[in-house]
Symmetry: C2
Subunit: 138 residues, 2 copies
DNA sequence: AATCAAATTTATAATCGTTGCAAAGATATA
DNA sequence: TATATCTTTGCAACGATTATAAATTTGATT
């Protein structure tokens, strides 16, 4: 779990002015590495921040994206998902419950960009789909 | 380019009743391997099939998905994209023009599923993002 | 502390891709 | 031809996201 002071510092590193809302959202992202959707972030913070607007959550995440504070995952057809961990790792989405899991410890070769494609490649995303352990049982 | 007779045969292989609309859509997909969106398919077929409904295109693509005739790409945040080539290959999306390109000839190891994850993995998607040659120039 | 400009947040409306639904049309079988 | 089933169609509804403009907060200046 992260404190709001830590979130504050984190934003400073990216030269983002740490408003109350931005700091709360940053703290949430640092503390909940579940690749949350906008809706999930909004619902989690609303109780303790009743005036928070969903538009602010959208605006803030777009600001974070522009400044490379977070990474947007394009693994879920329904919603945008966000990840504070911008290092090379893969993801798995469960078709049954919709949860997105990290898969670490993949060979680093997987994340290298192919050569001589003619494209200027800037990022890779490796996404697995299937059923998670919990959903398999039920 | 494929003929409607070939599209007809193709659908038969998947035990899908080849209506006029389904055959036309199948023929389009076989002939245009550009990972088209629903909109693109609809706009392409509309002129020669004025009664075609966009809902039919949606219904048909969902039918094709259920029967594994096509693969849905989750590389484009904006629209669903479809690929008749269901073999293992990677994709590249240009942030500038939005076009989705195939990247073939990737080492097959890239498409192997990681072991001991606890998940029942059923598919992988490898997506690169950047700028294509054509957009780099302009 | 009061003022003022700029930045940020907010609520609401608008947009757009997708799905739900019920009616109309087509197809196949008896 | 009659009937049941499948397919297509048009329109309404939905949900995620963005646009917009007003309200609020912040920070600097006096």
């Amino acid at each position: 779990m992260y404190t709001s002071a830590q979130a504050h510092k984190y934003l400073n590193q990216f030269s983002i002015k740490p408003s109350v809302q931005r700091t709360a959202i940053m703290e949430y992202l640092l503390s909940h590495r579940t690749h949350p959707t906008i809706e999930e972030i909004f619902l989690a913070l609303s109780p303790s921040m009743p005036t928070l607007s969903k538009t602010t959550v959208y605006n803030t995440l777009n600001l974070f994206l522009e400044n490379r504070v977070v990474q947007q995952l394009v693994i879920d057809e329904k919603n945008a998902r966000f990840d504070v961990d911008t290092s090379s790792h893969a993801h798995f989405i469960c078709k049954s419950c919709g949860k997105v899991y990290d898969i670490f410890n993949m060979p680093s070769a997987l994340f290298e960009f192919p050569k001589n494609t003619g494209f200027s490649i800037q990022s890779v995303e490796i996404s697995y789909t299937g059923v998670c352990e919990h959903c398999k049982e039920s």
